[in-house]
């Protein structure tokens, strides 16, 4: 009885592994958890309205997605990497080494990063300098760099309420952290003059890096999970400020009170016209060698950037994506299948 069973199962494995080499008929994508909801919305609508199977969308983070994309060409590698930050030269090099020569870069729109606290808390009006002075390890005081001792937001800026500093910021594996570092901490570092002092003391490269060093006394907490985790931490700790994506905030406006940044309230409008400073483009990267091989891939990417999806009145904008003013150029690029040039 057992030998028969083992024989059957061995056959099953054999059959399965040969069948694995057969054609895959659905699109596979992976990457940024920020792009994930948008990609699922498009995938769902694509599956409904086209005669192709619904694409499979995986999360995992921007870097992981790009790494998977660059694993090689073939049906057991993914077709599209979603990314909330631009591809890096190191990724392109890995891609080249594995035979992935041509990649298309498609910008789908912009995403804002908002600072929000509990709905019943005080109002906050921040500037990047406030955040730098609140969270950085070393700040400028009377023209010299000193260790940060600020306890409340009021210590940082007299216009802010007397509330203990406690910030939940995205962990370093998130693409969102990169934007927070550049658009908030570095900007604040420059604005307060700390960057100049760092560069004078340590040289250009180390000086810029020193701007991103955060204090380690528990006032800033890295959140490695998703925004849902940040929200539940805020719920448990009403005095804290959390960093969220705009779309997440828009789905939870009844629980969160959003802060202004440099006097601007974050919204799809203020991000689209560029007045709200903390925003970033969202991308997906397509393996060109798979176009024409994986059924529906070209149709899917055309559909993704079409006006009815990514346009200002489409479902992506309704969910919180800031649609790209240059969408028409992207559509033409996608239709023509232009691969991306070298990074500048």
């Amino acid at each position: 009885m057992n030998t028969a069973k083992i024989g059957v199962s061995a056959l099953a494995i054999l059959a399965a592994s040969t069948a694995g080499a057969l054609a895959r008929d659905q699109i596979q994508s992976a990457g940024s958890s920020t792009v994930l909801p948008y990609a699922t919305i498009v995938a769902e609508a694509f599956g409904e309205n086209f005669d192709f199977p619904t694409p499979v969308v995986e999360g995992g983070g921007s870097g992981a997605g790009r790494k998977k994309l660059c694993e090689g060409v073939g049906e057991n590698t993914i077709d599209i990497a979603n990314s909330s930050s631009r591809i890096k030269q190191s990724d392109i090099d890995t891609c080249k080494a594995n035979g992935v020569d041509e990649i298309m870069e498609v910008r789908i729109g912009y995403d804002g990063i908002v600072f929000a606290s509990d709905i019943n808390g005080a109002d906050f009006a921040f500037t990047p300098a406030d955040w730098y002075n609140a969270l950085a390890a070393q700040v400028m005081k009377d023209g010299a760099l000193v260790p940060n001792t600020a306890k409340t937001w009021h210590d940082v800026n007299a216009a802010l309420p007397e509330q203990d500093i406690l910030a939940f910021i995205p962990g370093t594996k998130h693409g969102t952290r990169e934007v927070f570092d550049i658009k908030v901490l570095e900007a604040g570092c420059k604005a307060t003059g700390a960057e100049e002092a760092f560069v004078a003391a340590m040289g250009e490269k180390d000086g810029e890096k020193a701007c991103l060093a955060l204090r380690t006394d528990g006032t800033s907490v890295d959140i490695d999970g998703d925004y849902t985790e940040t929200l539940s931490r805020l719920d448990a700790n009403k005095n804290a400020i959390g960093v969220f994506g705009l779309s997440f905030y828009q789905n939870n406006t009844d629980k969160l009170r959003v802060a202004t940044m440099s006097g601007i309230v974050p919204s799809t409008e203020t991000i689209a016209d560029g007045t709200y400073p903390v925003s970033r483009p969202l991308y997906f990267y397509v393996k060109k060698a798979h176009l024409g091989v994986i059924p529906g891939l070209q149709e899917y990417i055309d559909f993704f950037v079409s006006d009815e999806m990514a346009g200002p009145n489409g479902p992506l904008a309704a969910y919180g994506l800031v649609s790209d003013p240059e969408l028409a150029a992207t559509q033409a690029m996608v239709a023509a299948g232009t691969p991306m040039g070298p990074l500048n």
Binding site: S9, G20, E308
Partner: protein, 445 residues
């Protein structure tokens, strides 16, 4: 002191001396510790269950909207030839507009429509899934075009939340996705019988849904994916595990090599499951070229993970068969193989099955190894029937719980808890089955 004195002072058995008292109270204390320990466990279970049931039972009921929809031929079939290819050109966006207009007409007719509310805002009461359902109905039955049908549509997530108490007028005032006026309209429609809360079998059968339509998200693909994986685990792990343990227990010589194997099996049972995921990615996907996100790869990885559990349980069951039975069989002239297959294995079977079911239950609840082989993904299409279905992308139940908890829309919290309830029911059923099998077939000597 004389002997007589001592016998005089000997205490009666009925009066307790100090040491007996101390012993008795020590025992009493120990019993209290035990009761407290059990109490803590039960309390934790009650808290867990009540929180899961409290937030998850809502997922099994859903707000439904019924309205008459006129399927306008001009919109849906502008060419008028009922050609399926032309009909397919009317997308869900067209159907969405049609539904919004139909709902506006229906509420205006009943005199419920609030003044100044736009068609789009009224239409927002309907789930974004409804146009897709309607479109599929029409494509399947083109003769419906031009007629008026009674259509049951899902209500939007926020409206559903309102009737389940998750959304209130106060929260709606602050919410950018719903307005108090829309909720008032929904309440009026409910009073007029257009909206009702109904049982929601779709939660078990529907596939996952995107963040714009939490109300239609279900567990169908995940349950299928989990079932496929369990089939693969059962078909592979049970025969391999039983064969390995019979050999190790009955035939293998006692030497360093078999000792090494035994230590390794015991060790493997304690290896964190994510390690098996890494192995699966390297061997099954990158080396053998099997498709990503497929139940086949998931099942193979879980098989590796379950094998040590099954082997350990099987060996324990084989060992528990009294040697006298083996000796008797051998004594009347049975061969070693006959002894094992005719006498030892049948007697050990209840133990083996129990171990297998517990191993399966463990595999059913596993998420970490699936993360690396692409099963933690948004999968909307049902996998085909086996055996081809083993190669189609699918999700798994615990993965679906994880996916739901990552979503921004608060309606997914209810879905996640609902999925946990379903997973718990499956686990409970499997464990009860294991207990029943043991009760029914176990023999004591």
């Amino acid at each position: 002191m004389t002997l007589a004195d001592m016998s005089q002072h000997r205490p009666s058995l009925y009066t307790k001396d100090a040491r007996t008292k101390a012993r008795n109270s020590a025992e009493k204390r120990f019993r209290i510790y035990g009761v407290v320990a059990v109490g803590v466990g039960v309390l934790a279970l009650i808290v867990l269950l009540s929180s899961v049931l409290g937030s998850g039972l809502g997922a099994f009921r859903q707000t439904m909207l019924s309205l008459p929809v006129t399927l306008d031929a001009k919109l849906l079939d502008p060419k008028g030839n009922r050609d399926p290819a032309d009909l397919a050109k009317a997308t869900t966006i067209t159907y969405g507009k049609l539904l919004s207009q139909a709902l506006e007409a229906a509420v205006t007719e009943k005199g419920l429509a609030p003044e100044g509310m736009k068609t789009k805002e009224i239409g927002a009461l309907i789930s974004k899934e409804a146009p897709a359902i309607l479109r599929n109905q029409v494509l399947a039955k083109p003769e419906l075009i031009g007629t008026t049908i009674d259509f049951e549509a899902l209500a939007g997530g926020r409206i559903d939340g309102f009737f389940k108490g998750r959304v209130t007028m106060e929260s709606a005032a602050l919410d950018s996705n719903v307005s108090p006026a829309q909720l008032e309209l929904a309440q009026k429609m409910r009073d007029a019988g257009m909206i009702k809360l109904a049982l929601n079998p779709a939660f078990i059968t529907n596939p996952d849904a995107s963040e714009l339509r939490p109300e239609s998200a279900g567990l169908g693909v995940a349950i299928l994916g989990s079932a496929y994986m369990m089939i693969i685990v059962l078909v592979l792990a049970l025969p391999i595990g039983v064969a390995a343990s019979i050999y190790l227990e009955e035939f293998a010589p006692q030497n360093r090599f078999t000792d090494l194997i035994e230590v390794n099996i015991a060790n493997l049972a304690a290896v964190p499951s994510i390690v098996f995921g890494i192995l699966g990615l390297a061997v099954f996907i990158n080396f053998a070229g099997m498709p990503q996100s497929s139940p086949l790869v998931g099942g193979l990885v879980l098989t590796l993970m379950t094998l040590p559990t099954i082997i350990i349980a099987t060996r324990a069951a084989l060992k528990a068969v009294p040697p006298s039975i083996k000796d008797a069989a051998l004594g009347v002239g049975a061969s070693k193989m006959q002894t094992i297959f005719h006498h030892v294995l049948p007697l050990a079977l209840p133990g083996i099955l129990t171990g297998t079911i517990i191993g399966l239950a463990q595999a059913l609840g596993e998420t970490a190894p699936l993360l690396l082989i692409g099963m933690v993904a948004f999968v909307k299409d049902y996998p085909a029937a086996p055996p081809e279905g083993f190669l189609d992308p699918a999700a798994a139940l615990p993965v679906q719980v994880y996916n739901f908890t990552q979503r921004a829309d608060p309606a997914f919290i209810e879905r996640a808890s609902g999925a946990i309830i379903v997973l718990l029911v499956f686990l409970l059923a499997m464990n009860i089955l294991a207990v029943l099998l043991r009760r029914r077939f176990e023999r004591r000597w």
